[in-house]
Amino acid sequence: MYGVSQLQRQLAEYTSSLFEEGFLDDQFNQLQQLQDESNPEFVVEVVTLFFEDTERLLNELAKALGQESIDFKRVDAHVRQLKGSSSSIGAQRVQKVCIAFRNYCEEKNVEGCLKSLQEIKQECSLVKSKFETLFKMEQQLYAAGGRLPGSE
């Protein structure tokens, strides 16, 4: 079983890699700063909410893009919401695809929209598994009696 300092190092390295690979940006740091002993599950709660909401939005997007006559305003509204929430949790790669997606909506480019939808699904699935790994590491650290770096 790993010691606390090893677990802390492992967690720090993994978190750094997520930033380096562009999965997360500084907004995620800001989110972590909002977590404390009175609110110990804040980040997990927000991220869980995000993925629940994303699932709903992706279903809506698939439905909207499957219509014979596509309502691009409706599609854009869904993507806008996803862009906003992904940017607020620091899910940078998801946010970037949303920007491109909105441009395709403006151009009424069906192919572009469909491509973007696939990309978003991929990026969401990727970042979800990254978060799952991150939270598992945090749990292991707590179980070993450690604390997140920077927390009291």
Partner: protein, 154 residues
Amino acid sequence: MESRWSEGGSSTSSIIIEKSMIKYMSDEKETKISALVVDDDAIIRKIHKTMLERLFNMEAETVKDGKEAVDLHLSGANFDIIFMDKEMPIMDGHEATKHLRAMGVKSMIVGITTRGDDKDKEEFLAAGSNHCFEKPLDRAKVQQVLQEHENFSI
């Protein structure tokens, strides 16, 4: 801090009252800046509310569209700062801003958009907001607003 202002109070208390823009405050409560977060996304509401309360010691309420924000003010509520999302169902941000200003609401209104272009910003400012930022609302942006709030007078 003693609340002796109701008895005609000390000079310190009257300075605090002058600086405070809050219309309602309970007797022994510390004076906090009140904020209203208006956004149709539950995730955004949760994050912004927690950030304003935790990092800036504000009292924050949330509503999910412009109409709820207007209705809240019609029922007599007032806030120092309103963080207003632009695109929302039922009544969007710049429409709600226009309504609030027409009602005589003098709170600082901070428009929040999801686009980086100037068009949204111009629309929001023309509707009567004091600031406009692109999402996400982060610490630096709130600090910028608060710095201005110090000098903001009704």
